[in-house]
């Protein structure tokens, strides 16, 4: 059997040990400062690396598009029939909702309510997934140079996708609503009970801190409450599938099925909400925080 000799000189080893100790001490003693420094310095490097990332993503997107458009058409006929039926139902619902919207508009004008401020949105493409296995995150093809900043909300027309946690000059990392480390303020649309939505390890979401007296039930829709973070009120997050009420608990919680399947998202809209700090203004880390 052929084998390889791997002997190396010792001086480099001592230098490496000294360097490793100094750097590790730095990382443990000044984590926040070093995080900011490396993030800032890494921003232009992120721009450089974004080019091969976009190229590979483009090739992969083209291949997937060809496959979906021409090869994987089995069952398209049945799906078409189902979708036509659904369209008919939705047309009926749409008529009713138009009536309700018109009535709301009249009443709003009558009561002189101030309409909710709509933030500008910028479209971006998903070009990749998180490079690690610890977080559910996607990478967008736009970053700081397009005005994206950490904590901005990311949505599709169907609902909430997540929020930006890290940016470079040309890319942004979006932590998905299904990640257990994400937290978004939400409310049950029917009962107006507020809570905090976080992801679960099974890829679903959970609405926590619902008052015990709430009448929320499976089938209720959950939307953003607009109280905290980069989301305006009323964006769809998911539908309740189960209510969990444990004995002696102060609150109940609900399991949600998210409206958006983040695994299939290709284009998103980033809500450019004002009054969010820039990367350099942030004193803390974007997402992964250290244990105290």
């Amino acid at each position: 059997m052929r084998m390889v000799n791997f002997r190396t000189p010792y001086n480099a080893g001592r230098l490496a040990l000294a360097l490793a100790v100094v750097l590790l001490l730095g990382f443990f003693l000044l984590p926040t400062q070093l995080q900011s420094v490396f993030q800032e310095v890494g921003s232009p490097i992120g721009w450089v690396v974004s080019w091969p990332l976009r190229a590979v993503s483009g090739i992969q997107g083209g291949t997937a598009g060809f496959w979906n458009s021409y090869v994987a058409l089995q069952g398209a006929q049945e799906e078409n029939v189902e979708l036509r039926k659904e369209l008919e139902q939705l047309k009926g619902q749409n008529g009713q909702l138009r009536e309700a919207a018109a009535a709301t508009e009249r009443l709003t004008a009558l009561l002189e309510f101030k309409g909710q401020e709509m933030f500008p949105m910028v479209a971006a493409q998903v070009i990749g997934r998180d490079t690690g296995n610890w977080y559910r995150a996607i990478i967008l093809n736009k970053g700081e140079s397009d005005g994206f900043r950490p904590d901005m909300g990311v949505v599709t027309p169907a609902g909430v996708v997540g929020r930006i946690v890290k940016t470079t000059a040309a890319t942004s990392v979006v932590l998905l609503v299904t990640d257990p480390n994400n937290a978004i303020a939400g409310l049950v649309q029917r009962t107006r009970d507020e809570g905090i939505i976080e992801g679960t390890t099974s890829g679903m979401a959970r609405l926590k801190y619902i008052p015990l007296l709430s009448t929320a039930r499976p089938g209720d829709r959950v939307v953003t409450s607009g109280l905290v973070g980069g989301f305006p009120r009323g964006l769809s997050i998911g539908t309740i599938t189960r209510i969990d009420k444990s004995e002696g608990a102060l609150f109940q919680s609900a399991e949600l099925t998210p409206e958006v399947d983040a695994g299939l998202v290709e284009e998103v809209l980033v809500i450019q909400s004002p009054n969010l700090q820039t990367e350099s203004e942030r004193s803390g880390t974007p997402k992964g925080k250290r244990k105290p």
Binding site: F6, A16, L23, F38
Partner: protein, 166 residues
């Protein structure tokens, strides 16, 4: 020249890791190509090179992940350094030794990650061990072993190693 090759390798690593590997994920877990590169750099180049490549790979990969930058840099740096120490003490390397080494390195790296990142209360150490650490370690070992076997059986690895070191 070597620096340029490593820089190019890291730049090429990111698209493969974030665009292509999610398609071959098993139970949502993908192999960590960065860790494999860091281990091989440590084995071949020694402690200093392992450490520097580990820090660089951890940093660049951290820019495209929601995880803390310094955690990724620390864990990959430590693993690169340890791979260098192991490379100095393991005189003769075979694919089996490399696979076992990668398994151990992946477990150490992932455990450090799990301990250093403030993960949600749902993501305790048992969950991490079951769903990320062990599957990823197996994946890393298999992929790294396959690379090495390919280089060992198809290419002249002794010449490659001596060229890499000069």
């Amino acid at each position: 020249m070597k620096t340029l090759v490593i820089a190019g390798l890291i730049a090429g690593l990111i698209p493969i890791q974030s665009v292509l590997l999610p398609h071959v994920a098993v139970w949502g877990v993908t192999p960590d190509l960065g860790l494999i590169v860091v281990c091989l750099a440590g084995f071949f180049g020694g402690e200093l090179e392992g450490l520097l490549v580990g820090l660089a790979v951890g940093w660049i990969m951290g820019l495209f992940s929601a995880a803390d930058l310094t955690v990724g840099m620390s864990t990959k740096g430590i693993v690169g350094y340890l791979a260098g120490v192991a490379g100095r003490h393991v005189v003769y390397m075979t694919p089996v030794v490399l696979i076992l080494g990668l398994l151990a390195a992946s477990c150490v790296s992932s455990l450090l990650n799990a301990l250093m990142l403030t993960l949600n209360e749902q993501q305790n150490v048992w969950w991490a061990l079951k769903t990320v650490i062990l599957p990823q370690a197996v994946f890393d070992g298999v992929v790294g072993g396959a690379f090495y076997w390919l280089a060992w059986s198809r290419l002249n690895i002794e010449r490659l190693v001596s060229e890499y070191r000069t």
